[in-house]
């Protein structure tokens, strides 16, 4: 639902613009603006909770101050949201500007509701394994720390969705025969499939990748997922052969109609440093964003803008190999 984000003097994003798709995989070196993109989105959500400031006159704008401008998909393409910043990183002014064309110029409330549905996740296996109690189960916490409670809430409030999630867990991890919920503890466990063991593995005994996958499944099987989901390092802890499954879990959010789901798509913005994950996007270069850093300045480019991509791939390299080699950009600068 966010059509584009334009940055001016925002951290490393001195002059950068990014058109967003339903699914976006952002790759690039450290400090190239991947996390800054997500921070700007979170700032937009924070300020959207507050009363709007009056429209500032053009001559009052600080022309070298940081600014982030958001445009939206229909039915809100008639509005522009501008984050004004007092410094490179302190942005405390949100202006909503009606545009000369487009729909929804008078529907800030409708747009605001969607922006408030934005969620960002940096999953933490230690938080997942050490559930806080009592804990809210209305939505998955940013670090996944309430996963056990969230799973129990899904089971109670949306049993069909939970059944789908459970089936996915057991398909992806055939070494387990059951997903056991323990709402009284805000926790869960997986039963080992081998009947001779008849053992339950608690979250602290499960691998990071298993916990992260469970958290992503809880998000993807939520019947009412957030409007926008940002997930950092989606490959973290995941075996390379499971990366396709992780991609498909997130595709369930972005392309619900493909799964026969009657709900609006969730816009996904994910980051990775994995060439192996990137290999899975060969047929969908429009979903890949390359963050490029030159000196202190960072920019974004869609992989599909690379018109010779087909020829490069025909030469024999995989997409991940091409990225690693540097021919696609998005690699760290090195001193000779």
């Amino acid at each position: 639902m966010i059509a584009s984000v334009a940055f001016r003097n925002f951290k490393a994003l001195r002059s950068a613009r990014l058109a967003l798709q339903p699914f976006n995989l952002v790759i690039g070196p450290n400090g190239s603006g991947k996390s800054s993109l997500i921070q700007a989105l979170l700032r937009l959500r924070t300020l959207a909770r507050m009363p709007l400031r009056d429209l500032r006159r053009e001559q009052d704008r600080l022309h070298d101050a940081a600014e982030v401008t958001f445009r939206f998909e229909p039915p809100h393409d008639g509005l522009e949201a501008v984050l004004g910043c007092a410094s490179e990183s302190v942005c405390d002014l949100l202006q909503i500007v009606p545009l000369p064309t487009g729909e929804g110029a008078d529907d800030w409330e409708g747009l605001r509701k969607k922006i408030l549905g934005l969620r960002a996740y940096l999953l933490d296996h230690t938080a997942i394994a050490r559930p806080l109690y009592p804990v809210s189960s209305d939505e998955l916490a940013p670090d996944g720390g309430n996963l056990g409670a969230r799973l129990a809430a899904l089971r109670d409030r949306a049993p069909e969705a939970f059944a789908g999630l459970r089936a996915e867990v057991l398909r992806l991890f055939p070494e387990y025969s059951e997903l056991m919920l323990r709402p009284e503890k805000g926790s869960f466990a997986l039963r080992i499939a081998d009947p001779s063991e008849n053992a339950l593995l608690e979250p602290e005994d499960l691998s990071q990748g298993t916990l992260y996958t469970l958290a992503l499944l809880a998000l993807a099987h939520d019947p009412e997922p957030p409007a926008i989901v940002c997930v950092e390092e989606i490959d973290r802890g995941i075996h390379p052969r499971l990366l396709r499954e992780v991609r498909d879990i997130l595709y369930r959010l972005s392309y619900p109609a493909d799964r026969g789901l009657d709900r609006p798509p969730t816009q996904v913005i994910a980051t990775t440093h994995s060439p192996l994950l990137l290999d899975l996007f060969r047929d969908h270069p429009e979903e890949v964003v390359i963050a490029e850093k030159t000196g202190r300045a960072a920019t974004f480019t869609r992989l599909s803008e690379r018109t010779d991509l087909g020829e490069l791939l025909a030469e024999g390299g995989s997409l991940g190999d091409l990225w690693y080699s540097g021919v696609l950009g998005g690699v760290p600068e090195e001193q000779p």
């Binding site: 052969r241 493909d258 047929d283 791939l313 025909a314 190999d321």
Partner: protein, 238 residues
């Protein structure tokens, strides 16, 4: 109609032991069904967790896999299946003795396998691991559409490419087979398995329309004879 091979009195009674190397579990599952149809019976899968990460990873890893299978398993043969993508399709001209097309992935894989195995000493009671290579043009989804979509076939692909056209993309093939460009693994497995079972009843159309499959089938058909020619000690080793 299956082209089952007649029983060979010299052939070992046990089913052949075969390893499969593909770019995904979907392609491997379909290839296993097709290979059984070609061989006229079931085979025993060796090292079922082999996998390549797509081209060119499969070419890079093939020598190590061939060596591993030769020394550390009882595999009789290895089947390799890759997508052609935009590379040169394998044609009858490539089958000429000594011919090698540098941009044909099937020719490249055969040559790589040959180089990797020709100096290996006999091991585990056999001289060598047999080989069959298939090339799906441009992707395995084209095989799954064979017989259902008249516009899909290697001849039409080659003709269109010669005219500078792209008759269909990999994404379009996926959409036609799965109803979405982004199929889940279970959906992809279901459709690929159904298509392979359909072809297994009569392989002639797939062999006719897709020489990249026919090349693999021809190599597979030569295996029973090669296995039968192995010494009694080799046959008994399993």
């Amino acid at each position: 109609m299956k082209r089952a091979l007649p029983p060979d009195p010299h052939h070992p009674a046990r089913p052949p032991r075969i390893a499969l190397l593909g770019e995904s579990i979907v392609d491997e599952t379909a290839t296993a069904i097709l290979a059984e149809a070609v061989l006229g019976g079931p085979f025993e899968r060796v090292q079922p967790n082999l996998r390549a990460r797509g081209w060119p990873s499969v070419l890079q890893i093939l020598p190590a896999i061939a060596r591993h299978l030769h020394f550390h398993t009882d595999a009789d043969g290895l089947i390799v299946l890759v997508d052609a993508d935009d590379s040169e399709p394998h044609t009858a001209a490539h089958e000429a003795p000594g011919y090698f097309h540098p941009r044909c992935r099937l020719c490249q894989l055969r040559a790589t396998f040959r180089r990797a195995t020709k100096t290996l000493p006999p091991a585990r009671g056999r001289e060598r691991v047999l080989r069959a290579v298939g090339l799906a043009v441009p992707a395995a989804e084209a095989w799954y559409l064979c017989g259902l979509d008249e516009t899909v076939g290697e001849a039409g692909w080659i003709e269109a490419r010669a005219e500078g056209r792209v008759p269909y993309t990999r994404r379009e093939l996926k959409l036609r087979v799965y109803g979405t460009e982004r199929p889940t693994l279970p959906l992809a497995l279901e459709r690929a398995t159904a298509a392979a079972r359909r072809h297994a009843r009569d392989l002639r159309r797939l062999e006719n329309d897709f020489p990249g499959f026919a090349a693999m089938a021809d190599e597979l058909r030569s295996w029973p004879r090669a296995l039968a020619l192995r010494s009694p000690r080799e046959s008994a080793s399993g």
